[in-house]
């Protein structure tokens, strides 16, 4: 199976293809026998394409949500890692013919299997999925509460834990999650040892296709890739690959026939075959107007998250600073350990520990976990600011207060605290602005705040320019007034 390159250019020896090994099997995963290599059906499809182009496939690791942007940047030639065929992607990139048909399927807890069979049954319920996917858009179009995840493991563990009511994802992912949990996996907190942790509804919500994504300028090369793929469908190469990875089903055979039959006028007819939905229509690419309400909501979540977290940080920080300045040996040591441990470990890790690590003890809602993680993390930094500010108040001021008969508590409240507050105000403002931006990290535990919503919008629209600018403007609109307010306080509280 060798296809001549169209365009006549001398081909390089290597075909760089991009994918995300974090997505795991059966798409792309690190080879257990040799972690420097990858394996999976997408890997084999990419190798088939490379062979057909007389090249050698070389894998480039890239975050799944960045594949579109990376391929246009020229980081690699073709992106293949369960890349969904969407109208937006077809408009912005050169996409190949579909090479795999997937079904969007609902997973629910066994006790809910009879009542929640379709999206319509889930109105008002929390449905988990991956952000920036066709499934996410389907949930938005159905006016459901879409809980966005960055990975495809935690949606199912949270389903079993009762944090979400259903999961909508590709059938390959759902079946893999079910396999992983049987025998019951400790990650699925709450699963009955005897029973299945969740069930996959047999009726697909929608059907979609995986495609290869090339840069818009590589449309000639894309046509060559299409020819390789069609040939691989015809000679059974793709079927063998899919059977090896246990992802072959009759739907793939139907897809292959449609694609091969469409060869005469490949694009028009294949695209006619694409987008076939069962029970729901795939949402059209959402334009800026459609995303504005989501962005506004996400901005509000960012603000609320930041204010509540900062409130916690200030209160806990004050307690810690007071303990470090006034406490006995043990109290001081405990406060110091807290500050050093929290400052010395990544906020991301703390988010995971509070949300997922504690799930066996207490199942915190995502927003509460986010607020706690941010608040407790920033408390360590606030504590150091307050301690420094308290210690910056001249010792003579404290002695003067003592000679006047004030108790130590009164000295803190009436003399030391008010003066320390002035010293602390500027760094506190700085921290608050930093927290406002760090709040974007909480998207890893499903809280869709401004940056996450922007990323979803950017992925959907295929460009970061408009979403990025819009996001930056909103962040500035939130942070600049804060800085202005802080300067006013500083002026008001400053003595001549």
């Amino acid at each position: 199976m060798l296809v001549a390159l169209q365009g006549g250019a001398l081909p390089p020896k290597t075909l760089l293809w991009g994918g995300d090994a974090e997505g795991g099997a059966p798409f792309v995963e690190a080879d257990p026998a040799d972690a420097s290599r990858v394996r999976g059906f997408d890997v084999e499809v990419a190798e088939t394409i490379a062979r057909g182009l007389s090249r050698r496939a070389r894998f480039v690791q890239v975050q799944w949500s960045s594949i579109d942007q990376s391929v246009e940047r020229g980081d690699f030639t073709i992106g293949m890692s369960g890349m969904e065929d969407t109208p937006a992607r077809r408009t912005r990139h050169a996409v190949t013919v579909p090479y795999f048909e997937f079904r969007e399927v609902l997973a629910v807890r066994p006790e809910d299997a009879d009542r929640w069979r379709s999206l319509a049954d889930l109105r008002g319920r929390r449905v988990a999925t991956l952000g920036a996917t066709m499934a996410y858009d389907l949930l938005l179009a159905a006016n459901l509460t879409a809980i966005s995840y960055d990975d495809d493991v935690h949606p199912y563990s949270d389903l079993v834990a009762g944090r979400v009511d259903a999961v909508l994802l590709d059938h390959i992912i759902a079946e893999r999650a079910l396999r992983r949990s049987s025998p019951p996996n400790p990650a699925f907190v709450g699963a009955s040892p005897a029973g299945v942790p969740f069930v996959i509804q047999p009726q697909a919500v929608a059907t979609g296709y995986y495609v290869g994504v090339l840069a818009k300028a590589d449309s000639l090369l894309r046509d060559s890739v299409n020819a390789v793929l069609v040939a691989a469908m015809r000679d059974g190469t793709l079927e063998q690959i899919y059977r090896r990875w246990n992802v072959w089903d009759e739907g793939q055979g139907d897809l292959f026939r449609r694609v091969q039959g469409a060869q005469g006028d490949l694009f028009r007819r294949v695209q006619g075959a694409q987008g076939k939905m069962v029970g729901a229509q795939h949402a059209a690419p959402l334009q800026i107007q459609a995303y504005l309400p989501s962005l506004a909501r996400a901005a509000l979540i960012t603000l609320l998250l930041s204010f509540v977290s900062m409130g916690i940080a200030v209160i806990v920080g004050l307690v810690l600073a007071t303990a470090r300045v006034y406490g006995g040996t043990v109290t001081r040591a405990l406060a110091t350990v807290y500050v050093e441990v929290v400052r010395g470990t990544p906020l991301l890790l703390q988010l995971f520990v509070i949300y997922y690590g504690l799930a066996g003890v207490v199942r915190l809602p995502a927003f509460l976990a986010a607020v706690l993680a941010l608040g407790l993390n920033y408390a360590a930094y606030e504590a150091e600011i307050y301690r420094g500010a308290l210690e910056a108040v001249a010792a003579a001021q404290l002695e003067a207060a003592r000679t006047l008969g004030f108790s130590e508590t009164q000295i803190l409240r009436l003399v030391r605290g008010p003066q320390a507050l002035r010293y602390a105000l500027a760094p506190m403002t700085n921290d608050f602005v930093a927290l406002l931006k760090d709040s974007s990290l909480v998207s890893v535990i499903t809280v869709v705040e401004l940056t996450k919503q922007t990323a979803i919008y950017a992925t959907n629209s295929g460009s970061w320019i408009v979403p990025g600018l819009l996001c930056a403007v909103v962040y500035l609109a939130m942070s600049l007034p804060l800085a202005h307010l802080a300067r006013r306080f500083e002026r008001r509280w400053s003595t001549p």
């Binding site: 002695e399 000679t403 006047l404 008969g405 130590e408 009436l414 003399v415 001549p496």
Partner: protein
């Protein structure tokens, strides 16, 4: 007349170094006593020990019947009788920088003596007027001259109406005119109705000659 302050053989040691050794003195009501000696001889240390701001290693301090013994400074809660009897004016004044001149004076009146805002205001204004800084009541500490800041610091120290007033190098930042005015002010504090005792740590011999009733000299 019974001594308001009696110090017997006071010694302060930092590690192996004696910073004050064998100080004995008495101050009676209505009397101004100057504690003199070259820099570093322990004058300020003696005032700080009397005000229970630092520990001492030997001797005894007695203020109107309240005794301080060698060892760690007692907790603030056990020093209330002493705090009501002893006021201290720091060399650098140590005014509360976040409060106006008047608020520096009213703070202890309100939060230590429990006076109302109006009562505290009246006392503070009277004190500031008597020290000739009433016009600067609303000024911030940084807006005050050295002499004004010192008089506000004296007013603050007098807010609790102490019987004994300690002053650390009160003439350090004053010109000769202001020294004269300060001398008159201190004399009036000692001889007024309250009849306070004053202990002044200074190395300003000229000021001492025109102000003090007695001089105690610390040898290096």
């Amino acid at each position: 007349m019974t001594a308001l302050l009696r110090i017997t053989d006071l010694g302060v040691r930092y590690g192996a170094r004696d910073v004050l050794r064998g100080l004995s003195l008495e101050v009676r009501r209505g009397e101004i006593v100057a504690l003199m000696g070259p820099s570093g001889v322990g004058k300020s240390t003696a005032l700080r020990a009397i005000a229970a701001l630092q520990s001492f290693s030997s001797g005894r301090i007695e203020v109107d019947g309240f005794a301080l013994e060698p060892g760690p400074v007692p907790p603030q809660s056990r020093l209330t009788p002493l705090r009501r009897q002893v006021g201290l004016v720091f060399q650098a004044h140590a005014l509360f920088e976040h409060l106006s001149a008047k608020a520096n004076v009213t703070l202890a009146l309100r939060h230590v003596l429990g006076k109302t805002e109006a009562e505290a205001d009246t006392v503070a204004r009277d004190l500031l007027d008597s020290l000739d800084v009433g016009a600067r009541a609303e000024a911030w500490p940084r807006q005050l001259s050295g002499g004004e800041a010192q008089r506000v610091a004296i007013a603050r120290a007098l807010a609790l109406d102490p019987a004994l007033l300690l002053l650390d190098e009160p003439t350090a930042a004053l010109d000769s005119t202001r020294r004269g005015a300060l001398s008159a002010t201190l004399r009036s504090l000692a001889t007024g109705d309250a009849g306070r005792g004053l202990l002044i740590a200074t190395h300003d011999a000229e000021f001492v000659r025109g102000t003090a009733d007695r001089v105690v000299t610390l040898a290096p």
